[in-house]
Symmetry: C2
Subunit: 484 residues, 2 copies
């Protein structure tokens, strides 16, 4: 599969797609007659570069090439994946598909970002309906993993499978919708909330800020990690889901909501919302709000990653696959035990990598070294591990979020229950950022006492010791902080 | 104000209130005729003790006393705050209020956890309607900050003010609803989503798991940090809120959702939901799901705390107020620079405090020491700060989540641009967990070069140096990891 994506329509959504493909190593070819398209996509790319690498605990692939094209034909030829994000007008969508079909490869996926139309509507009259499906993403497309994938009656299974492969490869969570309906699933739910929220504003029950505060201090926190049904399952408790659901019956019949009517969205209501929104968020520019939102999303997603749950489990799976594909490092010289970018949650108030994250990186490097010598998750589960007894760090240079760093590890000693490691942390530009010297003891996790490791580990330690015997003792090893 | 809360009704919601009050140092008196109430509240307390302390970067107050009472009168007398969480039947609510009024203090707040009734309905026929208001919380009450506070027409302003004071004191975010309506605000929004979700399940558009995945990989992540309107403000971009809102007009008129109908919640639909939910989450017990949810919420909230945004900003404000109330520590002997519990995001895969968080705690202790000597946020903003050049840590003992730890700091040298600190980290039980020795240099943040600190800092360093001269050099200071 050629890693070439065509982006037809380069607004907030199309530009978000472009940024996600580019940062995942795809070449991106954009068509959009808007003279502002290049500026818009550059700004979205800046945002994506700021936030997306923080979702990985590895280094992202090299960015692909971005090019702008003056015809749809020129943009889509050779593309393995084509994403249409033109305005929500069916005639425009149909004209766009016709132009795409005139030049696209017959096995390319044609995904539509439409939030409202059904795939059967989109494919009406199309030259090759088997390629067309809805691939509906969520803003910011470069950070939020969800894509609702809705095949139409004529969409072919190979195209659907191909779409899933591509979307997963760029870090997304495609969810296949079982039956096409207008607005798919998420926007149905959002539309319901939106309609109700308009009534609340119109009737002065709450302001935009109060509604937002109610969401983000309440059910919004639940929904970032479980959804509607898993949350209710807990609320139902040991009695189970069925009796819990049953009790909602009467409530549904109560005239609680005004959902049966649509409030008139007249100029007065529109102005009221705009004024309340200014009072709530007017102190920030849209660009500032985007950065705040993106960093918040990174913090939330990294929290879920540490829990290996929901969208965080998805991110861990992506890291694991990349790690597996990479295999074990060379052991003949220094061992490459870490290679990653500095994520947004590793910064201090000055925007530099904070003190404790140097040890975090060295700790990860030690974990990786342990894994390499056979002290892996299975061995630890069987009751043996290494504990760090002593650490000496020299902070030699500063680094920032997004910086590519790596750690090379020298084993100064690895014999019996003792292991003595010396890590050097470099910036990708070659600067030595810090050294970490660590003395570890092999322990039994049952007795919490030190003891020799298993024979397969001792053998590996001997192999590395023989290789590393020729390396000079590093500058700074065995050093103490000057005696007071 | 006496710190006594009466909890009338001790189910999931009442028990959640009880746990939140207790862990914030209030005495809690519970009335509930259910013979299982004590077990239920103990289980909720276990959950709360597991998660709530992780939201603070300080030590929580000592837990209050929990007692169970056989009459409402006995539970509510002397209470400053009374929370009613009995089943959602208006006759039961009225009988409960009558019993409360017979014994309660006239200035006590009477909050109702009702999700559906309006305060005017609750207060109908009450002896003292001025005390009664809706204080509607969200499950899990011990973690989620939101309380919808809805005063009725007869609620008195002093009672409302008192309620806000109490709710803020136990870490909550009270939002006053401007006009009473059935189901207040959050449940109106939730009800709208729920109704739509039932259609999606009934019509086989998506399963419970697919809907949950769509929420937590998509808009749920947005809603944990901004709400509906701030998110749309960003989507609207520089053009502004009003034109963006306007474009929703036609969409609202489209027959996208089935909101105008209520699906029949018959046995077949109930069973379908229950079966899908089993397939999705049946591998976990309810207790396990609660723990997973709570730890997820802690991770998300701590991420937002690092960003000082939304519910995270609320938590930071609580920490700051407590810190301000505490004032500066004694400087005559060792300086107490840290006192906190070990939060859930500081653990390794074995459930112990992970290596790098020792340095995190020592780094926080160093920051606090800097603040004490006058190198505070204002000074740093003016362009001076200390950078750590070298660190030596000895890991001496293990600790777990929820453990109370403190750090005492000895200044070995503080002269000119040099500062040499020795931190001892103890468990509250007295065990020495680790020592951290740090060599720092005062720097100009403009030139990134070392330079002497401001005179007020030098003076403070001389004062502490004079006090600490009499202290013995600590065991382990100036020590190196054995030369290989």
């Amino acid at each position: 599969m050629t890693k070439i994506a065509a982006i037809i329509g380069g607004g907030v959504i199309g530009g978000g797609w472009a940024a996600r493909f580019l940062l995942n190593g795809w070449d991106v070819r954009v068509f959009d007659p808007d003279p502002d398209v290049a500026r818009n996509i550059r700004e979205l790319l800046d945002n994506a570069r700021h936030a997306l690498p923080s979702l990985s605990d590895r280094v992202m692939p090299a960015e692909g090439d971005l090019s702008f094209h003056s015809t749809i034909a020129d943009a889509v030829k050779e593309a393995a994946y084509i994403q249409e994000s033109v305005p929500e007008r069916l005639d425009m969508k149909h004209a766009t598909f016709a132009a795409i079909h005139a030049a696209a490869e017959p096995e390319a996926v044609i995904g539509s970002s439409t939030s409202g139309f059904k795939p059967s509507e989109l494919a009406r009259g199309a030259e090759n309906a088997s390629q067309i499906m809805v691939c509906h993403p969520f803003n910011p497309v470069y950070l939020l993993p969800l894509v609702e994938v809705v095949p139409g009656p004529d969409t072919n299974d190979a195209a659907l499978k191909h779409a899933f492969t591509v979307l997963k490869a760029i870090g997304m969570k495609p969810v296949k919708i079982r039956r096409e309906i207008e607005a798919h699933v998420a926007d149905r739910l959002l539309e319901a909330v939106w309609r109700e929220a308009l009534w609340l504003i119109r009737d002065d029950v709450a302001t935009t800020e109060e509604i937002d505060d109610i969401i983000r201090h309440g059910f919004g926190l639940r929904w970032a990690q479980m959804g509607l049904f898993e949350t209710y399952r807990i609320a139902g408790g040991e009695a189970g889901m069925a009796p819990f659901i049953k009790q909602f019956g009467p409530a549904l019949q109560r005239p609680w909501s005004k959902l049966t009517d649509v409030p008139e969205l007249d100029d007065a209501l529109i102005q009221k919302i705009a004024d309340q929104s200014d009072a709530q968020s007017g102190m920030y520019s849209i660009r500032e709000l985007e950065r705040i939102r993106d960093t918040n999303l990174v913090m939330i997603l990294r929290g879920l990653k540490a829990q290996n749950w929901g969208a965080g489990a998805l991110l861990n799976n992506i890291d694991s696959s990349a790690k597996e594909a990479e295999g074990l490092p060379e052991l003949s010289g220094l061992v490459r035990t870490l290679h990653r970018t500095v994520p947004l949650d590793w910064l201090d108030y000055n925007g530099h990598m904070t003190e404790s994250r140097y040890l975090h990186a060295f700790g990860d490097a030690t974990d990786r070294f342990m894994e390499i010598i056979g002290c892996d998750a299975a061995y630890i589960a069987s009751g043996g591990s290494y504990f760090t007894a002593e650490t000496h760090i020299r902070h030699l240079d500063e680094t920032h979020a997004g910086a590519e760093i790596y750690v090379d590890t020298q084993m100064l000693k690895g014999e019996g229950k003792k292991m003595h490691l010396f890590h050097r942390m470099h910036h990708a530009d070659g600067r030595l950022l810090a050294t970490g010297e660590h003395f570890l003891l092999h322990v039994s996790l049952k007795t919490r006492q030190s003891c020799p490791p298993a024979p397969h580990i001792e053998a590996k330690l001997r192999e590395i010791a023989a290789n590393h015997a020729a390396l000079p003792i590093p500058e700074g090893a065995g050093r103490a902080i000057t005696k007071p």
